[in-house]
């Protein structure tokens, strides 16, 4: 069983600085675009490689109901088309959509959200590549769709306990939007009208 995801993190207009107050960048996704794999999705969002792969794998293992497919190997192939920041979150989103497209049974959907903390402690959600580079800490969380519980977190940089909780709460708020996006795009695809 193969579900493949192409990820593009980019947005079309010239990079403008993000306005104060958090917002998620423009999203787009396309499903079932490849004919060979069982399911595929493309997700666009505003040595290290192996660890990233392992993180995604662990997140998937937590939600995929593997017991329903014994003796089966589920291969997830991710191809980064372009990287404009929040790469890990985009990878997670693309993986989830590809798994849904392939019809793999899961106990919940999951999404990825990235937060960046800059030097004066301001929280920025879904940072661009420039913001990520200049940030003091970059935190990526994988949250599930049922209770917004934390499935996986990977962080880089220095931050305090309080900041961690704040980022997590902000990520949970943002994940609502991502799940709404999933729901609407699937509705569009599967609705009869």
């Amino acid at each position: 069983m193969q579900s493949d995801a192409k990820i593009r993190t980019e947005y079309g207009t010239d990079s403008s600085p993000q306005s104060p107050g958090c917002s998620l960048r423009h999203f787009a996704c396309e499903q079932n675009l490849l004919s060979r794999p069982d399911g595929s999705a493309s997700f666009l969002q505003g040595v290290a490689e192996k660890s990233r792969e392992r993180l995604i794998r662990n997140t998937c293992e937590a939600v995929v109901l593997g017991a329903l497919h014994p003796r089966t190997s589920i291969t997830i192939v991710l191809q980064v088309i372009s990287d404009a920041g929040s790469l890990m979150a985009c990878c997670l989103n693309a993986t989830c959509m590809a798994l849904v497209d392939a019809g793999v049974p899961m106990q919940a959907l999951f999404c990825g959200v990235t937060c960046a903390l800059d030097s004066d402690g301001t929280l920025v959600l879904d940072p661009t590549a420039k913001q990520e580079k200049e940030a003091r800490a970059v935190l990526t969380f994988a949250l599930d769709s049922v209770d917004q519980k934390l499935l996986m977190s990977t962080t880089k940089g220095l931050y305090s306990n309080a900041e961690l909780q704040q980022c997590l709460a902000a990520a949970q708020a943002a994940s609502q939007h991502v799940f709404r996006f999933y729901r609407e795009s699937l509705q569009r695809r599967y609705s009869k009208s």
Binding site: G12, G21, C22, S23, A28, N32, I81, L125, E163, S185
Partner: protein
């Protein structure tokens, strides 16, 4: 994964259809599938779709020292990768023949035809030249990889802009894209490969074979032509024997096809250029067709994070402080230390717990996870306190023998990556120790 073999009836059906001049998707003999070219936000990034075959092309550049025997020329480097998502048969270790053949053909087509002016890539003769690297990834395989790849490569090269460089005496200044507009590469002509598939010992030919047709073909003829009808590369594989008229006819057809494709490429490049200049939206986001029900977009969404701080404070206030962790390593013999106590075995009945001497761990089954290296010689035993009951499993298969503590512990075989959960072999009667393997 092994490729699903083509059934005999499918093969016969395809061959019969070709004899009657019919193709599965309704095309004529010389028809190409729909070609769609879309560009990314960065210069040099494009995706080409030839029917369902999809290739991603990306060009990047770097300043390096030139080759010793070509001190005034830049370096071109091509790389085609067959991604695992393109077809189940493409696995990282397994695709060498096809991969080598495709890479070699692409190199001959683009490098030996001198379509890119390498002299213009020279910055300081003998010291600094541009190295242009073209990376192609096959995303979906529905036949005719070579055509799609050659189109992607040439489109990406035409689309690419390298940073501007100025040389004043001995000083070389490299300008960033913000300081000076990046400069396009100097391309003389655009060679594009056209594939002809032959069936029934050369009697029938098809242009742009799809994946099914490729599987039943006898041989393949690839001709790379540019729009001035100059042949850049020609290659025949598969062992078919062709007459000269056939080859000449194919080259004429290739000339016509390439003229059409080149026009399409020019139009796509111009469109993209226009959109970028007018400041409109460009990139892959825009090329997703809005009408398709499998595609969906959402605009920028503001997220309300005003109550984030209060929530965080609540969580922190309710959280207990982390337990104090004190590590007291116990040294058994030189080279063997123990930190903490192992977890008790939860298998078997807990009522019959016997107190054993030290050096016995509980589990008889080792679960090996992918990507975890087992450390050698780590022995976990429940001997921190002699009163703690040690529970052994009731399995009949194992033989539990207790050894003296002054014997050197036997090293555990390091188990490296295994794909599935495996039972550690516990059958040998001579197996002395049951060791608990801790996953790091």
């Amino acid at each position: 994964m092994k490729e699903t073999p083509l059934s005999n009836c499918e093969r016969r059906f395809l061959l019969r259809a070709i004899e009657e001049r019919k193709r599965l998707d309704g095309r004529q003999t010389y028809d190409y599938r729909n070609i769609k070219i879309s560009f990314g936000t960065d210069y040099g990034c494009c995706i080409v779709e030839l029917g369902k075959t999809r290739v991603l092309g990306q060009v990047s550049c770097e300043l390096v020292s030139p080759k010793l025997n070509r001190a005034t020329e830049g370096i071109l480097f091509f790389n085609l990768e067959l991604s695992q998502m393109a077809a189940p048969a493409f696995e990282p270790g397994r695709q060498s023949d096809l991969l080598v053949k495709l890479n070699r053909l692409l190199e001959r087509c683009l490098r030996n035809s001198k379509c890119i002016d390498t002299e213009s890539l020279c910055v300081v003769a003998g010291e600094k030249v541009w190295q242009i690297r073209v990376d192609l990834h096959l995303l979906n395989h529905d036949g005719n990889i070579i055509d799609a790849a050659s189109i992607a490569a040439i489109v990406a090269l035409c689309h690419f802009r390298r940073p501007d460089v100025s040389v004043q005496g001995d000083e070389v200044t490299l300008y960033t894209p913000e300081e000076r507009d990046p400069v396009p590469l100097s391309i003389h002509h655009m060679p594009i490969c056209v594939s002809f598939a032959f069936f029934q010992q050369g009697t029938f030919l098809l242009v742009d074979p799809s994946e099914r047709e490729e599987r039943v073909m006898d041989g393949l003829l690839v001709i790379a032509v540019n729009k001035h009808r100059e042949i850049c590369t020609i290659q025949s594989s598969g062992g078919i024997m062709l007459l000269n008229e056939q080859v000449l006819r194919c080259s004429k057809i290739a000339g016509v096809k390439v003229a059409e494709i080149t026009e399409l490429i020019q139009k796509a490049l111009e469109n993209d250029q226009k959109v970028r200049k007018e400041g409109g939206k460009f990139g892959f986001a825009e090329s997703i067709a809005k009408q398709r029900i499998t595609a969906f977009k959402m605009e920028e969404a503001p997220v309300d994070t005003s109550d984030v701080e209060e929530k965080a404070e609540e969580i922190l206030a309710e959280a207990e402080p982390p337990p104090d962790v004190v590590s007291k390593p116990v040294l058994w013999t030189p080279g063997t230390a123990q930190i903490g106590e192992g977890v008790e075995n939860s298998w078997g009945d807990l009522e019959d717990s016997e107190k054993e001497d030290e050096d016995e761990g509980g589990s008889d089954e080792a679960i090996i996870f992918k990507g975890v290296r087992m450390d050698v010689g780590m022995e976990v035993s429940n001997t921190g306190s002699q009163e703690a009951p040690i529970v052994l499993s009731d399995s009949e298969e194992e033989e539990t023998i207790i050894l003296e503590p002054d014997k050197n512990p036997k090293k555990i075989r390091t188990q490296t990556i295994s794909a599935k959960q495996e039972k550690a072999p516990s059958k040998t009667a001579a197996k002395k120790r049951k060791k608990k393997r801790t996953a790091n």
